[in-house]
Symmetry: C2
Subunit: 120 residues, 2 copies
């Protein structure tokens, strides 16, 4: 399955999913799938979350909490799951506040192995 | 229930919990309960996670993702849940990688109302 198909598969199978993407730590989006009219500025979102993830990675290493695997952020409007793929890339799943977050995180983890292989 | 008792209640009732604390965004720990020999440098951890949370709050507002409620960070060794209490304070629950994360996040949310009231 291509990278885009895998992302589409995640978005299609998670209730409330708005977008899925693969991003580099420098904020460059590698590939993305967005539900029409999701209303998100994926461009600025990707740059912002890349900054956040770099900051968390640094902090986790500093306090010897181990290597970062997953970060999830819940606001009053959205839920976002970020998952590390490799040294350079991570996946992002953006969902509505009432979406199926458990399934979203599960599929992100499961498909992460395929994506990491595709991108290796 | 006092703040410390509420924190102790969370740690005692979540399998794999290592520490629970209330912190200010400037990195000052307000109160904390740690399991003996948890092996964490809570001092530096609190400062680092406060920085991370401020960064996420800023990013979420910037991309209009709404007001931050909860952040969770999974590494290969630990799981950390951070939950906003009010404008100034947030709670942190640090757990082992295989702890009961669902219950931990649930109790943090549930007890958050008590804590916010105590601290108001």
């Amino acid at each position: 399955m291509s990278i885009r198909d895998t992302l589409k598969d995640i978005v299609d199978n998670v209730e409330g999913a708005l977008a899925a993407m693969i991003m580099a730590y420098d904020g460059i989006p590698i590939d993305e799938i967005t539900v029409p009219q999701s209303g998100f500025d994926l461009q600025s979102l990707s740059v912002e979350y890349a900054t956040v993830l770099k900051e968390i990675k640094r902090a986790a290493e500093l306090v010897k909490a181990g290597a970062m695997e997953e970060v999830s952020i819940t606001t009053n409007q959205t839920r976002v799951a970020l998952r590390v793929l490799n040294e350079d890339l991570f996946t992002v799943l953006i969902m509505t506040r009432d979406g199926n977050f458990g399934k979203g995180r599960y599929l992100l983890r499961l498909k992460g192995y395929d994506l990491a292989r595709e991108l290796a």
